[in-house]
Symmetry: C2
Subunit: 414 residues, 2 copies
């Protein structure tokens, strides 16, 4: 942990992992559980362990369209030695091995039968079928419990529900599922210079900046269906205004994310404004040991996590992934990862900043039969184009100097 | 291409790529263009090439909070040799190199200045700042056009809009964007044995099957925001009923996806029912050279693609990814891939079916510092659990026998 005094601001550039751990100790997210229709549950967080109430298949059933038979009766069947069987209509029991009954795919195998001959391996003449090919015992049969066993855990609490979960739960007759209600995230943009894009390009001439940061965060968060974002618009660098909107947003949300106003500049008032509020405010981190995004700060106000991110789109985008979403996954006890990490070969040497987790936007490309990654080495954390090109994020941990060209490193897919 | 006659059904197991190509020749998707709010555009298909109307930054601007100076005036600055500059209030011009003006991050650099000293590299006493550290020419300055150049292509027609696109378009003052309207996909489940999961587990005892296939397809499609799914429920294996619902769905959608009823069984009536309709129907493929999912068929009815998928959840799930979504990407001229492909090491030898593109569900896991993939080798294409475990799909192309253990293969992330 390094410390730096800048214009009266004392930063403690805390390690992210430590900050998230401390955040988890003093804040909590108690999201109520609600039962919703299964078809609306995609992307939501499952709030219960669900065990199968049944074997699936619940009985031996046919895997094809054909005829249920006794396998031992047809062991010698061939086109030169067709075995005749009397065809009955379907019934739950095959009373004799000289009979066969038609079964459709998925249909229960009658008791007494133990295999299914496929339609195309049979010649049919009226009520007689001639079997042209043997089928082993349980051939073309899906055995009871072969897919899912009664009592088996199908989905654990904390799992983000995906289409296959929906399919499995449907197959066991569930039409509703318990999930945590969406987490409400209040998003506030601070900065007197930031204006809505509808203001137009003249903004830049006037020393103003068209917002791209908050709409970027809004867009990323909106892709996670367990999140509901409430957007509070643009707030000037005036403490009283910041306090008022934070007060309102704290009442209406589980978590706050603010952009801008965390730097050492004279106009950066977000952190102080919140600390001064007539609220139970705990400081978790004033500055994090990350680059970009060192001024990123974390507070807890009335038990609710408050993330103060950079006003720069790239720094805020990275902090949203590496800090906010990581912390939410921990606080919500989400199982598994929101993003996929894969090993790839590095096309260029890169360095980290000593003492800081360094995040480098990067671009994947095919190289021979491998996947390689090229770091996008641009200075400013305001460089938007780098995000258009980037489909991966490289992390150089604090205790690592950097990576060599040709080294295989694990990167996160964005 | 192999052919097989089964119960009067003549399958032509056509190669998927060929089928999609032929489909593209005789069908078309003319989706109207609509202009929507940028913040609602995530996941939609951009319908225009968008070029930047401006440089970004539109002028040299400060990358930090600090003081704009002439870099040549402070080349010898150090704590032992602080260079004093007179501090003026901000103005668009720095009239002399013995002056400095405060600039906030993002603010325009006054004409005459060419660098910015950071706040912490300065001691300030009233109207005088003492610069303690030199800054090179353009140090802490974001140059005009460094991010985006005027006239540069920012997003091409056919791109699926992602958060970074939204951010960039906002930064150039766009608040609305032209996209193709959502494609309407009509989803129809056929099969007299398939019932709604609300029917409960007693269904299985009665020879019925609780639906998992259509809700699975519905869930997957609902994750693609350029798609709108209209769900027509469960239709019995009765030609007249199939025709009626297909007629209605054809009128209301751009594309149809039907599940079930494509096999060679007596109850499989979907294909015939549609061919017999009083519509302009072209047969693209009756059966595809894929496993699982050989009976998968493709028709064009009144110019609209109609995909007939297996009733089995796994076969239908794979066909949705490998056939339907692939075809839609081609027909809609979508740029890039909907799914990510990566190279991984195979943990077990696997074989394909000669003459067929074979799809194998698989599970990624970490092995040493690599990512390995284990094929889930289960027989039935109805085995749902395999989907819960699978996070990848291996394709063994028709002309490849299989892959060896330890071989690096490209797989698709699901």
């Amino acid at each position: 942990m390094s410390a730096m005094r800048q214009q009266g601001v004392k930063y403690n550039f805390m390690a992210t992992a430590l900050a998230i751990e401390q955040l988890a100790k003093v804040s909590k997210l108690n999201l109520e559980i609600q039962e919703i229709e299964l078809k609306n549950a995609i992307g939501m967080i499952c709030a219960e362990d669900i065990y199968s109430p049944t074997d699936l298949p619940p009985f031996d059933r046919s895997a094809v369209d054909g005829y249920a038979v006794c396998s031992e009766t047809i062991t010698s069947a061939s086109p030169n030695n067709p075995i005749p069987l009397k065809l009955l209509s379907y019934s739950p029991t095959l009373s004799s091995c000289s009979y066969a009954v038609p079964v459709a795919t998925g249909q229960r195998i009658p008791e007494g039968a133990d295999a299914v001959v496929m339609l195309e391996d049979v010649d049919r003449e009226g009520n007689i079928i001639y079997v042209l090919k043997p089928v082993p015992k349980y051939g073309n049969v899906s055995r009871k419990g072969e897919d899912i066993r009664k009592g088996e855990l199908l989905i654990a609490r904390g799992t983000i529900i995906k289409p296959p979960h929906i399919a499995v739960l449907s197959a066991i007759g569930m039409t509703r599922v318990k999930v945590y209600r969406k987490i409400n995230i209040g998003l506030i943009s601070t900065g007197s210079e930031v204006v809505d894009p509808s203001y137009g390009l003249k903004a830049y001439e006037q020393g103003l900046v068209l917002d791209s940061t908050s709409i970027l965060l809004l867009s990323v968060l909106s892709m996670h269906r367990f999140v509901n974002v409430n957007w509070y618009g643009f707030v000037k660098d005036v403490k009283q205004e910041i306090k008022a909107v934070v007060e309102k947003a704290l009442n209406e949300n589980d978590v706050l994310v603010l952009t801008g106003g965390t730097g050492p500049g004279e106009t950066d008032k977000t952190f102080e404004a919140i600390v001064e509020m007539n609220r139970d405010v705990k400081i978790i981190a004033r500055g994090l040991a990350v680059r970009p995004g060192r001024p990123t700060s974390i507070l807890v106000a009335n038990g609710k996590p408050v993330f103060l991110l950079s006003g720069f789109p790239v720094a805020a985008y990275i902090a949203l992934h590496e800090i906010v979403l990581k912390a939410l996954c921990m606080l919500l006890k989400i199982r598994g990862e929101l993003f996929i990490e894969i090993p790839v070969k590095l096309s260029k040497r890169i360095y980290g900043a000593v003492g800081y987790d360094t995040y480098v936007r990067a671009k994947l490309f095919k190289c021979n039969n491998e996947l390689c990654v090229e770091p996008i080495l641009l200075h400013g954390s305001g460089v938007l184009k780098s995000l258009l090109e980037a489909n991966a994020l490289i992390t150089i941990p604090r205790n690592v100097e950097g990576y060599e060209k040709g080294e295989v490193i694990w990167i996160k897919l964005l």
